[in-house]
Symmetry: C2
Subunit: 203 residues, 2 copies
Amino acid sequence: MPRTSDVEERLMNAAMDLIWENSYGSTSVDAICEKAGAKKGSFYHFFESKSELAVKALEADWQRKKAKMDDIFSASVPPLDRLQHYFEHVYKGQTKAHGECGAVLGCPYCSLGCEIGTQDRAIGDQVHKILDRNAKYFESAIRDAHAQGLIKAPDAKAKAQMLVAYFQGSLSQARIENDVNRLRGLASGALELLGAQPQRAAK
Amino acid sequence: MPRTSDVEERLMNAAMDLIWENSYGSTSVDAICEKAGAKKGSFYHFFESKSELAVKALEADWQRKKAKMDDIFSASVPPLDRLQHYFEHVYKGQTKAHGECGAVLGCPYCSLGCEIGTQDRAIGDQVHKILDRNAKYFESAIRDAHAQGLIKAPDAKAKAQMLVAYFQGSLSQARIENDVNRLRGLASGALELLGAQPQRAAK
DNA sequence: AAGGTAGTTGACTGACTAGTAAACTATGGC
DNA sequence: GCCATAGTTTACTAGTCAGTCAACTACCTT
């Protein structure tokens, strides 16, 4: 067998997929192992519990997405464009996932956080941490937009929290209604929420 | 034994409480029965499955809340006041629940819908239906506010969907962060989102 | 007062749950 | 080539899960 095993990574990927698609409670360790092509003994060689796996899988999932975030929210891009590009990116991602698994899946962090926030503090805290990191991108884009006079948002942090709420709420609605069209207006809704002058369609 | 049994109602109440506080997946039929002071045989006398109980419990829960909604959203109240009163009512309710069980619980419909929307269509549809009913109250208040020139919202339905997203997102955030203060600014945030003139603090 | 019925009870099933333990194997460092 | 060790495998436990079933009880109608 190869010296460096990728079973740990496969297990985390399988877990994220299954939890996102279904839920934490309905995702069994057996199912994760089967999807990852691993045996249970290997699972408990790498993780001491299902809960610990979830925490590590969340972190790994975020790290995978971080590069894309840094790209989209690059300071070299006009601040409102950053937000617009991000929401369009999310819309595309949700549409793709819907095509692949037949259901709109929403935000894995938010769904998981709501499900077990009151039951498993370790997972809840991890979700909280990741959502905070996400909000930071919004916050600095809003602050820049305010500084450039594009919007009026003297309290960038509060505005960012509003935007996160609107964003997460939209994703939840889309999952519940299983309707990706709920996310079509995400970018324009966000700009409307921020009180930006309506963008004329690019071109 | 009394001719008319209230076991069915007790079971639905217990189920809603447990599912709201924890989650659907982690709430066992045994736990519901114990909390309701009923035996499992009685459970399956009234409900054919755990899923069916959830659907009926959701409906009963909504019916319990409906009278309050009709009161708050009475057409005799100025439209923006209706919304403000509603969000203050929610804030109080969340604060009360937090005091009683030590955790911010968010929206039971949204949490449940996100958790099992992809797995149990019957429950998912029921949640969807209830959230739609809720949105209708927002929609007509927004339409009235627009007609009175209090806000600019030519598409009341779209604005109501935005408001629902913001509202549900805020509740989810509060649950995940276990912080009821996230909901303190709900009413003012909602009015800001609607582009209403800032209300001066009532006396 | 008889009998049908709505509701109640406790014991049961079989499948599934997270997690364990010990034997095994391949590999990289020496 | 040898060996410690990281990783793998299989078989297992003990508890919990949703759901079943047949016997039972108290009431309402007649």
